[in-house]
């Protein structure tokens, strides 16, 4: 039961000061500016708002943004699990270096990632030249967007699954083995259920990050309306035409979808913790 008062008594000082500062800072930097997007968009009126956010070019950008982000997150879930597994369970030369470099996409500015991937996957690039004879074009196509999104969201699944794999008790697997289960059965029945929440959390984090990505994608995408134009770019081009209300309206749609994802992430993490406890 929650106590009737707003906070439980404590001998520690500074509650009012720190909480007050935290809330004031969040309001000034985050919440009030974010409210502006909603205020601006709602000036349009419901019908016009709807016609802006459901225009064919905008709908095409949602499909592309969410589709590419979903695919990138799925690719990273598969490979991220393998990378985490290999880093926790096996020994191979250069393992520590590989482990440290997994976080590179978090530390590398997205613009740098964008120009580098574009150069690599262009028709005359290091990787693009091998794909060109096969008829595969990556730079300046929607496939390029997926490549960029895979790069920027790569660490999430690895870093959420890795600690859970490390904490798995060896005894459970040994018990399963002594009861006659083979490795695949042990993975399916014992290991996978334990890492499933972390895998889901990593997937959702990667998905949420990929939806909003701008810096790396605009270089590699080609940015053709209806074909390879992501929603954040559409917001920028509306802004550049001084269509503030239109830009705000599309932003509101993205914000609402992102809030839902954030809520989902929090629920998943709570589920994660309660399972680990």
């Amino acid at each position: 039961m929650m106590p009737p008062q707003l906070r439980q008594p404590s001998v520690l000082p500074g509650f009012g000061l720190t909480l007050g500062f935290t809330v004031a800072y969040l309001c000034l930097i985050v919440l009030i500016p974010l409210a502006m997007a909603f205020l601006e968009a709602f000036q349009l009126g419901w019908r016009e708002f709807w016609s802006v956010v459901s225009a064919p070019r905008v709908m095409a950008s949602y499909r592309l943004t969410f589709g590419a982000a979903l695919l990138a997150a799925a690719i990273n879930t598969g490979f991220g699990l393998i990378v985490a597994w290999v880093l926790v369970r096996y020994h191979f030369p250069g393992k520590r270096l590989v482990d440290a470099l997994v976080d590179l996409p978090f530390a590398l500015p997205t613009a740098v990632a964008g120009i580098t991937l574009t150069t690599l996957y262009a028709g005359n690039g290091w990787l693009g030249q091998f794909l060109k004879p096969l008829g595969i074009k990556i730079a300046f196509t929607p496939t390029g967007i997926i490549v960029a999104l895979v790069f920027i969201s790569l660490p999430f699944v690895v870093r959420t699954v890795q600690p859970v794999l490390e904490d798995l008790e060896a005894e459970v697997e040994e018990a399963a083995a002594s009861l006659g289960a083979d490795r695949w059965q042990i993975f399916q029945r014992v290991i996978f259920p334990a890492i499933r929440p972390a895998l889901l959390t990593g997937f959702t984090l990667a998905f949420a990050r990929a939806i909003g990505e701008y810096g790396s994608v605009i270089f590699i995408a080609g940015n053709l309306p209806m074909v390879s134009e992501i929603t954040p770019l559409l917001i920028v081009s509306k802004l550049e035409q001084y269509d503030y209300k239109g830009a705000a309206a599309v932003s509101v749609v993205m914000l609402i979808l992102s809030f839902i994802l954030l809520l989902l992430i929090n629920l998943l993490q709570r589920w994660n913790r309660s399972r680990q406890a």
Partner: protein
């Protein structure tokens, strides 16, 4: 949490060697294609036209002013978010109050907002046609397409970094040590400086490092509020974009290599902190050597 058993004495060789080799191969191929090749390519492209072009690109006056502005926005954003992170972590981890989980979610909010939207909302607020635009023009204050807007956008996108590092750390440490200090007569400030701060210094440093990295590399949010005025409101990532779009690839990659070196330094510091705090926590367990 794991028990007292060391992970490395577990059933490490439980899969057949063939499968192990296959999985390591798949993981390394994936990481090579998506991480290692791009990393090498940045430096290759930067130095392709020779050292002369490289040095000319990073000592160009526009590049230098972009570096200055990038450093300035980080110097403004990081201390602000450090203050916020420590205050938020203190309130959240040392006290029980209603609405705590809502507060934690709100701190995470900037992570879920597209950087482009982060820039947009400040344009809506402070831009010439924005809500406060007319009042600002009257007093001749320029925020959008000027340095204050860049700093604000940078602060927004980096709000959660330090708080996110400190909250789990301080939660795990509990409140007993601070309570003991207070019972023994220390003041609130003394308790914070002598007890809490030494306990959280590595987490704080890690948060500051991550926050600095993001502040210096931010592109989308800064791009929207900057106006791209060369020599005045161009940060290093925006300068790279302009060079790239002008087909000055060697110069673009030369500037990109500076940010890449920064990224590598950050990964180095992070690895060092993790090793150091790990060996402090569990002195006899020697890293991950079997």
């Amino acid at each position: 949490m794991s028990g007292p058993i060391h992970q490395h004495h577990r059933t490490a060789a439980s899969e057949p060697p063939l499968i192990q080799g296959l999985l390591v191969g798949v993981a390394l191929t994936f990481l090579t294609l998506f991480l290692f090749v791009p990393l090498v390519a940045v430096f290759y492209e930067a130095l392709r036209k020779g050292m002369g072009v490289y040095l000319a690109a990073i000592t160009d006056p526009y590049a230098l002013s972009a570096i200055r502005l990038t450093l300035l926005s980080a110097v403004c954003a990081v201390p602000l978010n450090m203050l916020f992170g420590v205050a938020a972590a203190w309130a959240i981890t040392k006290f029980e109050f209603r609405g705590k989980s809502l507060l934690i979610t709100l701190i995470d909010l900037p992570f879920a907002v597209s950087p482009v939207i982060a820039g947009l909302i400040y344009v809506l607020l402070f831009g010439a046609h924005g809500w406060l635009g007319p009042a600002l023009t009257q007093h001749d204050i320029k925020i959008i397409f000027a340095v204050p807007g860049i700093v604000l956008a940078t602060v927004f996108v980096t709000v959660p970094f330090i708080a996110r590092e400190l909250i789990p750390l301080m939660q795990a440490q509990g409140t007993e040590e601070e309570e003991a200090a207070l019972v023994l007569g220390a003041s609130g400030w003394t308790t914070f400086w002598r007890i809490t701060l030494p306990n959280i210094k590595w987490g704080l440093l890690y948060g500051v490092v991550l926050c600095t990295a993001r502040a210096m590399g931010e592109f989308g949010a800064v791009s929207v509020v900057s106006g791209h005025i060369r020599g005045l409101t161009n940060t290093l990532p925006l300068h790279i974009e302009i060079l790239y779009n002008e087909y000055q690839f060697a110069a673009a990659f030369a500037c990109a290599s500076l940010l890449t070196l920064l990224a590598l330094a950050i990964l180095g510091i992070k690895t060092f902190i993790e090793r150091y705090t790990f060996s402090q926590r569990r002195p006899p367990a020697g890293g991950d050597t079997p």
